[in-house]
Amino acid sequence: MNDLSVNIAGMTFKNPVTTASGTFGYGEEFLDFLDPGQLGGIFVKAVTGKNREGNNYPRMAETTGGMLNSVGLQNKGVDIFCRDIYPKIKTFDTHIIVNVSGSTVEEYVEVSERINELEKIPAIELNISCPNVKLGGMAFGTMPDMAKEVTIAVRKVYKKILMVKLSPNVTHITEIAKAVVDGGADVITLINTLLGMAIDAERRRPVLSTITGGLSGPAIKPVALRMVWQVHKAVPVPVIGLGGIMNATDAIEFILAGASAVQIGTANFIDPRVGLKIIDGLGQYLERHQISTIKELIGALKTE
Protein backbone atom coordinates (compact mmCIF):
# COMPACT_ATOMS: atom_id res chain seq x y z
CA MET A 1 0.00 0.00 0.00
CA ASN A 2 0.91 3.63 -0.36
CA ASP A 3 3.44 3.52 -3.10
CA LEU A 4 4.68 7.09 -3.44
CA SER A 5 7.31 6.41 -6.07
CA VAL A 6 7.08 8.00 -9.49
CA ASN A 7 8.99 7.60 -12.74
CA ILE A 8 10.15 10.56 -14.67
CA ALA A 9 11.92 10.09 -17.96
CA GLY A 10 13.30 6.78 -16.78
CA MET A 11 14.39 7.95 -13.33
CA THR A 12 12.62 6.55 -10.30
CA PHE A 13 11.91 9.04 -7.53
CA LYS A 14 11.15 7.42 -4.17
CA ASN A 15 8.43 10.02 -3.77
CA PRO A 16 7.28 13.00 -5.81
CA VAL A 17 8.41 15.61 -3.29
CA THR A 18 11.50 17.55 -4.31
CA THR A 19 12.84 20.99 -3.44
CA ALA A 20 12.95 23.97 -5.77
CA SER A 21 16.18 25.52 -6.94
CA GLY A 22 17.24 28.57 -4.96
CA THR A 23 15.14 27.68 -1.97
CA PHE A 24 17.09 24.75 -0.58
CA GLY A 25 20.65 25.97 -0.89
CA TYR A 26 22.79 22.93 -1.66
CA GLY A 27 20.84 20.86 0.81
CA GLU A 28 23.52 21.37 3.46
CA GLU A 29 21.65 24.23 5.11
CA PHE A 30 18.87 21.77 5.95
CA LEU A 31 20.88 18.99 7.53
CA ASP A 32 19.86 20.02 11.03
CA PHE A 33 16.22 19.75 10.02
CA LEU A 34 15.96 16.67 7.84
CA ASP A 35 17.82 13.92 6.04
CA PRO A 36 17.80 14.88 2.32
CA GLY A 37 17.63 11.15 1.61
CA GLN A 38 13.99 11.22 2.65
CA LEU A 39 13.09 13.57 -0.21
CA GLY A 40 12.35 12.47 -3.74
CA GLY A 41 15.04 14.79 -5.02
CA ILE A 42 16.82 18.09 -4.57
CA PHE A 43 17.12 20.81 -7.19
CA VAL A 44 20.15 22.80 -6.09
CA LYS A 45 20.76 26.51 -6.50
CA ALA A 46 21.49 27.85 -9.99
CA VAL A 47 25.03 27.26 -11.28
CA THR A 48 26.51 29.62 -13.88
CA GLY A 49 29.76 29.67 -15.78
CA LYS A 50 31.59 32.14 -13.57
CA ASN A 51 31.25 33.38 -10.03
CA ARG A 52 28.32 35.78 -9.70
CA GLU A 53 27.76 38.14 -6.84
CA GLY A 54 24.06 38.54 -7.63
CA ASN A 55 22.13 41.75 -7.08
CA ASN A 56 22.52 44.39 -4.43
CA TYR A 57 20.67 44.46 -1.13
CA PRO A 58 17.69 44.65 -0.55
CA ARG A 59 16.79 41.47 -2.34
CA MET A 60 13.55 40.52 -0.68
CA ALA A 61 10.11 41.95 -0.06
CA GLU A 62 7.23 40.24 1.66
CA THR A 63 3.88 40.45 -0.13
CA THR A 64 0.41 39.13 0.62
CA GLY A 65 0.75 35.35 0.56
CA GLY A 66 4.15 35.50 -1.00
CA MET A 67 7.48 37.19 -1.44
CA LEU A 68 9.52 38.91 -4.10
CA ASN A 69 13.18 38.08 -4.50
CA SER A 70 15.94 39.46 -6.65
CA VAL A 71 18.83 37.28 -5.63
CA GLY A 72 20.05 37.19 -9.21
CA LEU A 73 21.79 33.84 -9.46
CA GLN A 74 24.48 34.48 -6.85
CA ASN A 75 26.77 31.45 -6.96
CA LYS A 76 30.45 30.57 -7.06
CA GLY A 77 30.42 29.33 -10.67
CA VAL A 78 30.65 25.85 -12.13
CA ASP A 79 34.33 25.27 -11.26
CA ILE A 80 33.82 25.76 -7.56
CA PHE A 81 30.58 23.82 -7.73
CA CYS A 82 32.32 20.79 -9.22
CA ARG A 83 35.36 21.05 -7.00
CA ASP A 84 34.01 22.04 -3.60
CA ILE A 85 30.26 21.58 -3.45
CA TYR A 86 29.61 18.47 -5.48
CA PRO A 87 31.85 16.21 -3.36
CA LYS A 88 29.94 17.25 -0.24
CA ILE A 89 26.47 16.67 -1.58
CA LYS A 90 26.96 13.68 -3.84
CA THR A 91 26.53 11.34 -0.93
CA PHE A 92 22.94 12.39 -0.27
CA ASP A 93 20.74 9.37 -0.83
CA THR A 94 18.44 11.12 -3.32
CA HIS A 95 18.55 12.58 -6.81
CA ILE A 96 20.57 15.77 -6.97
CA ILE A 97 19.60 17.86 -9.96
CA VAL A 98 21.56 20.94 -10.92
CA ASN A 99 19.80 24.12 -12.02
CA VAL A 100 21.84 25.50 -14.92
CA SER A 101 21.71 29.20 -15.73
CA GLY A 102 23.48 31.57 -18.03
CA SER A 103 23.46 34.79 -19.98
CA THR A 104 24.31 33.28 -23.35
CA VAL A 105 23.68 30.01 -25.13
CA GLU A 106 27.41 29.35 -24.83
CA GLU A 107 27.29 29.72 -21.07
CA TYR A 108 24.38 27.27 -20.76
CA VAL A 109 26.27 24.82 -22.94
CA GLU A 110 29.52 25.21 -21.06
CA VAL A 111 27.93 24.64 -17.67
CA SER A 112 25.85 21.71 -18.89
CA GLU A 113 28.91 20.04 -20.36
CA ARG A 114 30.71 20.30 -17.05
CA ILE A 115 27.78 18.99 -15.05
CA ASN A 116 27.43 16.12 -17.53
CA GLU A 117 30.72 14.76 -16.18
CA LEU A 118 29.46 14.54 -12.60
CA GLU A 119 28.57 10.92 -12.04
CA LYS A 120 26.01 11.44 -9.29
CA ILE A 121 24.02 14.12 -11.06
CA PRO A 122 21.38 12.31 -13.13
CA ALA A 123 19.74 15.40 -14.64
CA ILE A 124 19.96 19.13 -15.08
CA GLU A 125 17.24 21.71 -15.01
CA LEU A 126 17.82 24.51 -17.53
CA ASN A 127 16.71 27.73 -15.93
CA ILE A 128 15.53 29.82 -18.87
CA SER A 129 13.22 31.73 -16.61
CA CYS A 130 15.11 33.74 -14.03
CA PRO A 131 13.61 37.21 -13.94
CA ASN A 132 16.43 38.67 -11.91
CA VAL A 133 19.28 38.99 -14.34
CA LYS A 134 19.75 41.65 -16.93
CA LEU A 135 21.08 39.43 -19.68
CA GLY A 136 19.64 36.08 -20.70
CA GLY A 137 17.68 34.34 -18.00
CA MET A 138 14.03 35.01 -18.53
CA ALA A 139 14.52 36.36 -22.05
CA PHE A 140 15.23 32.81 -23.20
CA GLY A 141 12.08 31.58 -21.55
CA THR A 142 9.69 34.11 -23.05
CA MET A 143 10.43 33.53 -26.71
CA PRO A 144 9.77 30.11 -28.24
CA ASP A 145 12.62 30.42 -30.73
CA MET A 146 15.22 31.28 -28.16
CA ALA A 147 13.89 28.67 -25.78
CA LYS A 148 14.23 26.05 -28.47
CA GLU A 149 17.66 27.21 -29.54
CA VAL A 150 19.18 26.98 -26.09
CA THR A 151 17.54 23.59 -25.53
CA ILE A 152 18.95 22.20 -28.79
CA ALA A 153 22.40 23.52 -27.98
CA VAL A 154 22.44 21.98 -24.52
CA ARG A 155 20.87 18.76 -25.77
CA LYS A 156 23.90 18.24 -27.99
CA VAL A 157 26.32 18.19 -25.09
CA TYR A 158 24.20 16.92 -22.25
CA LYS A 159 23.70 13.18 -22.35
CA LYS A 160 21.54 12.59 -19.30
CA ILE A 161 18.06 13.80 -18.47
CA LEU A 162 17.38 17.31 -19.61
CA MET A 163 14.72 19.25 -17.77
CA VAL A 164 13.76 22.78 -18.80
CA LYS A 165 12.19 25.20 -16.35
CA LEU A 166 9.71 27.64 -17.84
CA SER A 167 8.83 31.20 -16.99
CA PRO A 168 5.16 31.99 -16.31
CA ASN A 169 5.57 35.53 -17.65
CA VAL A 170 4.30 34.64 -21.10
CA THR A 171 1.12 34.82 -23.13
CA HIS A 172 1.12 31.21 -24.26
CA ILE A 173 2.92 28.84 -21.94
CA THR A 174 2.13 25.87 -24.16
CA GLU A 175 4.02 27.39 -27.10
CA ILE A 176 7.17 27.65 -25.04
CA ALA A 177 6.63 24.15 -23.70
CA LYS A 178 6.26 22.71 -27.20
CA ALA A 179 9.33 24.60 -28.38
CA VAL A 180 11.58 23.14 -25.70
CA VAL A 181 10.17 19.65 -26.21
CA ASP A 182 10.93 20.04 -29.91
CA GLY A 183 14.39 21.15 -28.87
CA GLY A 184 14.91 17.91 -26.96
CA ALA A 185 13.74 18.49 -23.40
CA ASP A 186 12.91 15.28 -21.53
CA VAL A 187 10.98 16.95 -18.76
CA ILE A 188 9.39 20.34 -18.20
CA THR A 189 9.36 22.03 -14.83
CA LEU A 190 7.16 25.03 -14.14
CA ILE A 191 6.65 27.63 -12.88
CA ASN A 192 9.46 29.97 -12.02
CA THR A 193 8.51 33.26 -10.37
CA LEU A 194 6.09 35.87 -11.71
CA LEU A 195 7.66 39.23 -12.39
CA GLY A 196 6.45 41.66 -9.76
CA MET A 197 7.33 44.79 -7.86
CA ALA A 198 7.03 46.21 -4.38
CA ILE A 199 7.02 49.85 -3.36
CA ASP A 200 7.73 51.42 0.00
CA ALA A 201 5.03 54.10 0.07
CA GLU A 202 6.59 56.02 2.96
CA ARG A 203 10.01 56.32 1.34
CA ARG A 204 8.55 56.50 -2.18
CA ARG A 205 11.08 54.01 -3.41
CA PRO A 206 11.05 50.48 -4.77
CA VAL A 207 11.72 47.96 -2.01
CA LEU A 208 14.11 45.89 -4.12
CA SER A 209 17.44 47.21 -5.36
CA THR A 210 16.47 45.86 -8.78
CA ILE A 211 13.01 47.52 -8.69
CA THR A 212 11.30 44.36 -9.96
CA GLY A 213 11.73 40.82 -8.68
CA GLY A 214 10.27 37.35 -8.78
CA LEU A 215 7.04 36.58 -6.96
CA SER A 216 6.73 33.19 -5.26
CA GLY A 217 4.58 31.59 -2.59
CA PRO A 218 0.92 30.59 -2.29
CA ALA A 219 -0.19 33.83 -3.95
CA ILE A 220 0.92 32.40 -7.30
CA LYS A 221 -0.49 28.90 -6.86
CA PRO A 222 -3.60 29.44 -9.02
CA VAL A 223 -1.45 30.61 -11.95
CA ALA A 224 0.99 27.74 -11.48
CA LEU A 225 -1.78 25.12 -11.35
CA ARG A 226 -3.35 26.50 -14.50
CA MET A 227 -0.05 26.37 -16.39
CA VAL A 228 0.83 22.87 -15.21
CA TRP A 229 -2.57 21.70 -16.38
CA GLN A 230 -2.25 23.43 -19.76
CA VAL A 231 1.26 22.13 -20.37
CA HIS A 232 0.46 18.60 -19.21
CA LYS A 233 -2.26 18.45 -21.83
CA ALA A 234 -0.11 20.01 -24.52
CA VAL A 235 3.14 18.04 -24.44
CA PRO A 236 3.99 14.33 -24.28
CA VAL A 237 6.78 14.67 -21.70
CA PRO A 238 6.47 14.54 -17.91
CA VAL A 239 5.89 17.76 -16.05
CA ILE A 240 7.27 18.73 -12.64
CA GLY A 241 4.99 21.26 -10.99
CA LEU A 242 5.65 24.01 -8.50
CA GLY A 243 4.50 27.40 -7.36
CA GLY A 244 3.14 28.11 -3.92
CA ILE A 245 2.98 24.58 -2.57
CA MET A 246 2.65 24.81 1.21
CA ASN A 247 1.14 21.47 2.18
CA ALA A 248 0.13 18.03 0.96
CA THR A 249 -3.22 19.20 -0.39
CA ASP A 250 -1.46 21.71 -2.61
CA ALA A 251 0.88 18.97 -3.82
CA ILE A 252 -2.07 16.70 -4.66
CA GLU A 253 -3.62 19.52 -6.66
CA PHE A 254 -0.49 19.84 -8.80
CA ILE A 255 -0.32 16.09 -9.30
CA LEU A 256 -3.98 15.96 -10.33
CA ALA A 257 -3.31 18.81 -12.75
CA GLY A 258 -0.64 16.69 -14.39
CA ALA A 259 2.59 16.98 -12.42
CA SER A 260 4.59 13.76 -12.08
CA ALA A 261 6.47 15.35 -9.20
CA VAL A 262 6.40 18.62 -7.32
CA GLN A 263 8.98 21.06 -6.03
CA ILE A 264 8.69 22.88 -2.74
CA GLY A 265 10.08 26.40 -2.85
CA THR A 266 9.28 29.31 -0.58
CA ALA A 267 7.59 27.00 1.93
CA ASN A 268 11.04 25.71 2.92
CA PHE A 269 11.86 29.11 4.38
CA ILE A 270 8.87 29.06 6.68
CA ASP A 271 9.14 25.44 7.66
CA PRO A 272 12.41 23.75 6.70
CA ARG A 273 10.80 20.40 7.45
CA VAL A 274 7.78 20.99 5.24
CA GLY A 275 8.95 18.49 2.61
CA LEU A 276 8.71 15.62 5.09
CA LYS A 277 5.28 16.74 6.23
CA ILE A 278 4.10 16.77 2.63
CA ILE A 279 5.42 13.27 2.06
CA ASP A 280 3.45 12.11 5.11
CA GLY A 281 0.36 13.92 3.91
CA LEU A 282 0.53 12.29 0.49
CA GLY A 283 0.62 8.88 2.14
CA GLN A 284 -2.40 9.76 4.24
CA TYR A 285 -4.29 10.95 1.18
CA LEU A 286 -3.65 7.67 -0.62
CA GLU A 287 -4.80 5.76 2.42
CA ARG A 288 -7.94 7.83 2.91
CA HIS A 289 -8.87 7.44 -0.72
CA GLN A 290 -7.72 3.83 -0.89
CA ILE A 291 -5.39 4.42 -3.78
CA SER A 292 -2.43 2.08 -3.96
CA THR A 293 -0.03 4.23 -5.94
CA ILE A 294 0.33 7.94 -6.40
CA LYS A 295 0.99 7.35 -10.10
CA GLU A 296 -2.76 6.91 -10.47
CA LEU A 297 -3.29 10.53 -9.48
CA ILE A 298 -1.00 12.09 -12.07
CA GLY A 299 -3.20 14.14 -14.36
CA ALA A 300 -6.28 12.44 -12.89
CA LEU A 301 -8.31 15.63 -12.66
CA LYS A 302 -11.92 14.89 -13.63
CA THR A 303 -13.10 17.57 -16.02
CA GLU A 304 -15.41 15.42 -18.14
Binding site: G22, T23, F24, G25, E29, F30, D32, F33, K45, N51, E53, G54, N56, Y57, P58, R59, M60, A61, E62, T63, T64, G65, G66, M67, N69, V71, Q74, G217, T266, N268, F269, I270, D271, P272, R273
Partner: protein, 259 residues
Protein backbone atom coordinates in the same frame (compact mmCIF):
# COMPACT_ATOMS: atom_id res chain seq x y z
CA UNK B 1 30.15 21.73 21.56
CA UNK B 2 27.02 20.81 19.71
CA UNK B 3 25.82 23.44 17.29
CA UNK B 4 22.41 22.46 16.05
CA UNK B 5 19.48 24.42 14.74
CA UNK B 6 16.16 23.43 16.21
CA UNK B 7 12.55 24.05 15.35
CA UNK B 8 10.31 23.88 18.35
CA UNK B 9 7.13 25.21 19.85
CA UNK B 10 8.27 27.32 22.77
CA UNK B 11 5.81 28.44 25.42
CA UNK B 12 5.38 32.07 26.35
CA UNK B 13 5.88 32.19 30.09
CA UNK B 14 5.89 35.97 30.39
CA UNK B 15 5.24 38.99 28.22
CA UNK B 16 6.61 42.12 29.86
CA UNK B 17 5.66 45.48 28.46
CA UNK B 18 8.34 48.14 29.03
CA UNK B 19 6.64 51.01 27.25
CA UNK B 20 4.52 51.62 24.19
CA UNK B 21 7.25 50.39 21.88
CA UNK B 22 9.19 47.66 23.66
CA UNK B 23 8.23 44.36 25.20
CA UNK B 24 10.02 41.22 26.29
CA UNK B 25 8.93 37.65 25.63
CA UNK B 26 10.18 34.93 27.95
CA UNK B 27 10.04 31.62 26.14
CA UNK B 28 10.25 28.20 27.72
CA UNK B 29 11.64 25.19 25.85
CA UNK B 30 10.80 21.57 26.61
CA UNK B 31 14.24 20.26 25.69
CA UNK B 32 17.52 21.50 27.16
CA UNK B 33 19.34 23.97 24.91
CA UNK B 34 22.49 23.02 23.11
CA UNK B 35 25.10 25.76 22.62
CA UNK B 36 23.68 29.27 22.22
CA UNK B 37 26.08 32.19 21.95
CA UNK B 38 25.60 35.95 22.27
CA UNK B 39 24.84 37.57 18.92
CA UNK B 40 22.77 34.67 17.65
CA UNK B 41 19.13 35.11 16.73
CA UNK B 42 15.91 33.19 16.26
CA UNK B 43 13.22 33.05 13.54
CA UNK B 44 9.70 33.29 14.90
CA UNK B 45 6.56 32.13 13.11
CA UNK B 46 3.77 34.63 13.65
CA UNK B 47 0.68 32.45 13.40
CA UNK B 48 -2.73 34.01 13.04
CA UNK B 49 -1.55 37.26 11.49
CA UNK B 50 -2.95 37.38 7.97
CA UNK B 51 -0.30 39.76 6.67
CA UNK B 52 2.69 37.98 8.16
CA UNK B 53 3.82 35.34 5.73
CA UNK B 54 7.49 34.90 6.53
CA UNK B 55 9.09 34.35 9.92
CA UNK B 56 10.42 37.31 11.89
CA UNK B 57 14.05 37.44 13.10
CA UNK B 58 14.93 38.56 16.64
CA UNK B 59 18.22 38.57 18.51
CA UNK B 60 18.49 36.39 21.54
CA UNK B 61 18.39 38.83 24.42
CA UNK B 62 19.40 36.35 27.08
CA UNK B 63 19.33 32.68 27.90
CA UNK B 64 18.81 30.81 31.11
CA UNK B 65 20.21 27.40 30.35
CA UNK B 66 19.20 25.92 33.69
CA UNK B 67 15.51 26.70 33.32
CA UNK B 68 15.59 26.27 29.50
CA UNK B 69 14.36 29.78 28.85
CA UNK B 70 15.29 32.37 26.31
CA UNK B 71 14.19 35.96 26.10
CA UNK B 72 13.49 38.24 23.17
CA UNK B 73 13.40 42.02 23.44
CA UNK B 74 11.11 43.29 20.73
CA UNK B 75 10.23 46.68 19.35
CA UNK B 76 6.78 47.03 17.80
CA UNK B 77 7.29 47.88 14.14
CA UNK B 78 4.44 46.43 12.07
CA UNK B 79 1.83 43.69 12.06
CA UNK B 80 4.11 40.84 13.09
CA UNK B 81 5.57 42.49 16.15
CA UNK B 82 2.20 43.98 17.11
CA UNK B 83 0.75 40.49 17.01
CA UNK B 84 3.56 39.12 19.17
CA UNK B 85 3.09 41.96 21.65
CA UNK B 86 -0.41 40.64 22.37
CA UNK B 87 0.63 37.10 23.22
CA UNK B 88 -0.29 35.95 26.67
CA UNK B 89 1.14 33.39 29.01
CA UNK B 90 0.75 29.85 27.76
CA UNK B 91 0.74 30.78 24.06
CA UNK B 92 2.90 28.61 21.84
CA UNK B 93 5.41 30.15 19.49
CA UNK B 94 7.11 28.18 16.76
CA UNK B 95 10.77 29.19 16.76
CA UNK B 96 13.87 28.20 14.82
CA UNK B 97 16.97 28.66 17.00
CA UNK B 98 19.77 29.45 17.39
CA UNK B 99 20.78 31.05 14.09
CA UNK B 100 23.78 32.97 12.84
CA UNK B 101 27.31 33.41 14.15
CA UNK B 102 28.17 35.19 17.38
CA UNK B 103 30.35 37.92 18.81
CA UNK B 104 33.96 36.79 19.01
CA UNK B 105 35.93 36.77 22.24
CA UNK B 106 38.15 39.78 22.81
CA UNK B 107 41.91 39.43 23.15
CA UNK B 108 42.09 42.10 25.83
CA UNK B 109 39.94 42.68 28.88
CA UNK B 110 39.12 46.29 28.02
CA UNK B 111 35.88 46.04 26.18
CA UNK B 112 33.16 48.49 25.24
CA UNK B 113 29.58 47.55 24.44
CA UNK B 114 27.49 50.14 22.59
CA UNK B 115 23.77 49.83 21.96
CA UNK B 116 20.79 51.89 21.04
CA UNK B 117 17.16 51.24 20.15
CA UNK B 118 16.26 47.59 19.85
CA UNK B 119 19.94 47.09 19.07
CA UNK B 120 20.42 46.64 22.79
CA UNK B 121 18.74 43.25 22.50
CA UNK B 122 21.84 41.01 22.40
CA UNK B 123 24.02 43.16 24.67
CA UNK B 124 22.89 41.82 28.01
CA UNK B 125 23.65 38.27 26.91
CA UNK B 126 27.03 39.41 25.64
CA UNK B 127 27.82 41.23 28.89
CA UNK B 128 26.88 38.18 30.91
CA UNK B 129 28.99 35.99 28.66
CA UNK B 130 32.00 38.31 28.96
CA UNK B 131 31.63 38.22 32.75
CA UNK B 132 31.96 34.45 32.62
CA UNK B 133 35.30 35.07 30.86
CA UNK B 134 36.17 37.42 33.74
CA UNK B 135 35.73 40.54 31.65
CA UNK B 136 33.88 43.55 33.03
CA UNK B 137 32.84 45.56 29.99
CA UNK B 138 31.93 49.21 29.83
CA UNK B 139 28.35 49.32 28.56
CA UNK B 140 27.11 52.45 26.81
CA UNK B 141 23.44 52.57 25.95
CA UNK B 142 21.42 55.28 24.28
CA UNK B 143 17.75 55.84 25.03
CA UNK B 144 15.34 58.46 23.78
CA UNK B 145 14.31 59.59 27.22
CA UNK B 146 14.43 58.52 30.87
CA UNK B 147 10.91 57.11 30.89
CA UNK B 148 11.80 54.73 28.08
CA UNK B 149 14.81 53.25 29.88
CA UNK B 150 14.60 49.65 31.01
CA UNK B 151 16.73 46.86 32.48
CA UNK B 152 19.23 49.35 33.82
CA UNK B 153 19.97 47.26 36.92
CA UNK B 154 20.50 44.17 34.83
CA UNK B 155 23.28 45.77 32.84
CA UNK B 156 24.90 47.24 35.92
CA UNK B 157 25.43 43.73 37.26
CA UNK B 158 27.86 42.91 34.49
CA UNK B 159 29.86 46.05 33.99
CA UNK B 160 30.07 49.81 34.18
CA UNK B 161 26.91 51.29 32.70
CA UNK B 162 26.97 54.62 30.83
CA UNK B 163 23.84 56.18 29.46
CA UNK B 164 22.86 58.83 26.98
CA UNK B 165 19.37 60.15 26.38
CA UNK B 166 18.32 62.26 23.44
CA UNK B 167 16.73 64.80 25.76
CA UNK B 168 19.24 64.64 28.65
CA UNK B 169 16.69 63.32 31.16
CA UNK B 170 19.22 60.66 32.18
CA UNK B 171 22.96 60.20 31.68
CA UNK B 172 24.60 62.45 29.14
CA UNK B 173 22.46 64.36 26.70
CA UNK B 174 22.68 63.39 23.01
CA UNK B 175 23.30 60.33 20.92
CA UNK B 176 25.58 57.54 22.05
CA UNK B 177 28.29 58.76 19.70
CA UNK B 178 28.17 62.15 21.42
CA UNK B 179 29.16 60.57 24.74
CA UNK B 180 32.23 62.11 26.39
CA UNK B 181 33.89 58.70 26.22
CA UNK B 182 34.41 59.26 22.53
CA UNK B 183 35.71 62.82 22.97
CA UNK B 184 38.89 61.61 24.66
CA UNK B 185 42.24 61.63 22.89
CA UNK B 186 42.62 57.91 23.26
CA UNK B 187 39.85 55.35 23.17
CA UNK B 188 41.28 52.86 25.58
CA UNK B 189 39.55 49.63 24.56
CA UNK B 190 40.74 46.45 22.92
CA UNK B 191 37.36 45.83 21.33
CA UNK B 192 34.06 47.52 20.70
CA UNK B 193 30.84 45.58 20.21
CA UNK B 194 28.03 47.60 18.76
CA UNK B 195 24.42 47.06 17.78
CA UNK B 196 21.67 49.45 16.91
CA UNK B 197 20.47 51.50 13.96
CA UNK B 198 22.80 51.41 10.96
CA UNK B 199 23.78 55.13 11.14
CA UNK B 200 24.81 54.65 14.78
CA UNK B 201 26.83 51.54 13.98
CA UNK B 202 28.51 53.37 11.11
CA UNK B 203 29.48 56.28 13.36
CA UNK B 204 30.83 53.99 16.05
CA UNK B 205 32.69 51.95 13.45
CA UNK B 206 34.25 55.13 12.09
CA UNK B 207 35.37 56.20 15.54
CA UNK B 208 36.76 52.73 16.18
CA UNK B 209 38.64 52.78 12.92
CA UNK B 210 40.10 56.20 13.73
CA UNK B 211 41.32 54.90 17.08
CA UNK B 212 42.41 51.60 15.54
CA UNK B 213 40.15 49.64 17.85
CA UNK B 214 38.71 46.35 16.68
CA UNK B 215 34.94 46.68 16.23
CA UNK B 216 32.16 44.16 15.73
CA UNK B 217 28.63 45.09 14.72
CA UNK B 218 25.46 43.07 14.50
CA UNK B 219 23.65 43.71 11.21
CA UNK B 220 20.02 43.41 10.32
CA UNK B 221 18.67 42.62 6.88
CA UNK B 222 15.52 41.45 5.16
CA UNK B 223 15.47 37.71 5.68
CA UNK B 224 13.30 35.11 4.05
CA UNK B 225 14.80 31.99 5.67
CA UNK B 226 17.33 32.93 8.33
CA UNK B 227 19.38 29.77 7.89
CA UNK B 228 21.35 30.35 4.71
CA UNK B 229 19.07 28.90 2.07
CA UNK B 230 17.66 31.87 0.18
CA UNK B 231 20.56 34.31 -0.27
CA UNK B 232 18.20 37.22 0.33
CA UNK B 233 20.06 38.76 3.26
CA UNK B 234 23.46 39.55 1.81
CA UNK B 235 25.85 42.31 2.75
CA UNK B 236 28.92 43.23 0.70
CA UNK B 237 32.17 42.19 2.41
CA UNK B 238 35.80 41.74 1.48
CA UNK B 239 34.90 38.21 0.40
CA UNK B 240 31.98 39.32 -1.79
CA UNK B 241 28.32 39.18 -0.85
CA UNK B 242 27.92 37.26 2.37
CA UNK B 243 24.76 36.10 4.12
CA UNK B 244 23.89 38.11 7.20
CA UNK B 245 22.05 35.10 8.62
CA UNK B 246 25.00 32.68 8.29
CA UNK B 247 28.31 34.51 7.96
CA UNK B 248 26.68 37.16 10.22
CA UNK B 249 24.77 38.78 11.81
CA UNK B 250 28.01 39.76 13.59
CA UNK B 251 30.71 41.21 11.34
CA UNK B 252 34.02 42.80 12.07
CA UNK B 253 33.69 46.27 10.59
CA UNK B 254 37.03 45.82 8.86
CA UNK B 255 35.33 43.33 6.56
CA UNK B 256 32.28 45.44 5.69
CA UNK B 257 31.89 47.72 2.72
CA UNK B 258 29.45 50.12 4.31
CA UNK B 259 31.69 52.58 6.07
Amino acid sequence: MIFKKNIADLTVVRNTRFNNRYFMLDLQAEEPFSVILPGQFVQVLVAGSPSTFLRRPFSIHSVDFASRRLRLLIQIKGEGTRHLSLLTEGAKLNVIYPLGNSFSLPVTKKVLLVGGGCGVAPLLFLAQFLNQQHIQPVILIGFRTRSEMFEIEEYSKFGQLLITTDDGTAGEKGLVVDHSLFQKERLDFGKIYCCGPVPMMQSVARIAQWHKVDCEVSLENTMACGFGACLCCITPTDRGNERVCMEGPVFNTKRLKWL
